[in-house]
Amino acid sequence: MPIDVETPVYTGPFDLLLQLILSEEVDIHEVHLSRIVDAYLAEIERLQSLDLDVATEFLLIAATLVELKTRRLLPGRVEVDLDDELALWEERDLLLARLLECKTFKDVASVFHQLADEASRSFPRAVGADERFAALTPDLLEGTSVQRLRNAAIRALTPTPEPKVDLFHVTPIRLTVAEAVAELVDELPRVGRISFRRLTADLVERIEVIVQFLALLELFKQGYVDLDQAERFGDIDVTWIGGIGVDAHELAVDVYEG
């Protein structure tokens, strides 16, 4: 059950190759190698640092690909050394095996994402006994190591990245306000409150931000969200006040010209 997760995530050369072969449905031989290299360099540039391991791995893969490709282009394959040919097959099988493994765990990760997301909607009770039992309650620091405290400090003091409403699973460019409204109605009740900047942090195109803004205005107009802007040009706080179980279809949305 391959689940297609099209995350614009760069996690290494396998990813890139997988993406190129699978999502673009191209024969790697028909792709100019320069294109792969370009994509790779662009990624490196975005990452703003060169990881030597990644680079080496990439070179290895690129070399294998070049060899596969030249082999195909060369005339007179009859004269090809059988050992070389076999070695090449081996290389290629190895590469294939690694790509398959990579794909396997990418799919697993998307299931983990779902599981974690579902689990995070329930909050456990970790309150303990009330004061009537104070004398009996074990000392909660008993057995806590300094190491554990230190890890907790690191965890707590590590800056949390800007929380984002994760929208990478939806079509990247939405042009209708109605669609944006439907998404917001789905996401906002779960988030409760979020700033407009965070809400739109994932959006690439200006038009998407505008659509998102129009969608929010629509929800505001209909009393589902509260908008608050502390200062002129400041960030806008979006608070869901529509309760739970709102059906997006029930919202009459004006149609804007995209």
């Binding site: 995530v9 990452l47 309150v127 009330d130 039992f133 000392d139 620091l141 990245p161 006040i241 309760g243």
Partner: protein, 203 residues
Amino acid sequence: MEHDDHRDIDRAIEAIVLVAHEPVPPELIAQLLEQPVHLVEDRCETLAASYREHGHGFELARVAGGYRYQTHPDLTPYVERFLLADQRARLSGAALETLAIVAYKQPISRAQVASIRGVDPDGVLRSLAARGYIGEVGRDSGPGQAVLYGTTPLFLEKLGLDSLDDLPPIAEFIPGADVVEALEQGLRVTPATPPAAPSGDGS
């Protein structure tokens, strides 16, 4: 849960009170649910009565101006046996993190803890204080004269430390916001706009 109109309110009350470290004032619940206080109190009493009626092992009690779940008095022997037998009881992740912040950043105010943890630390601070791990160590000189917290000798004793200087250093392990961002977002490729300046880091 008889009235369907009140079902959502009842369920929300149950969920909120379940996770609260301290009795929850009905005024707070009312505010969160955007309902009148008297209705919330009414629903709490109805819930409490229905738990009694069903003979549950827990009850919804009004204590110190708020509502909380507690065990039914006649089950005290079992609860005691459990507490004595349960050697695994340790500070929950959230409580330990709060304690760690106080330990490394003391003296520190409630508001500063809140800004680091991003959640309301009141309940946890109170329960840490009740256990004697932290205490008031002074007052902020600012306008609010906020209470400043610090760790106690008992805290040092429990961790087997001689003094606060023996806490292992952490500075070098804390990555910058950019690194965290990259890790958490799975090195997500975002447009060239720089990530909005991480608010209030460092200093």
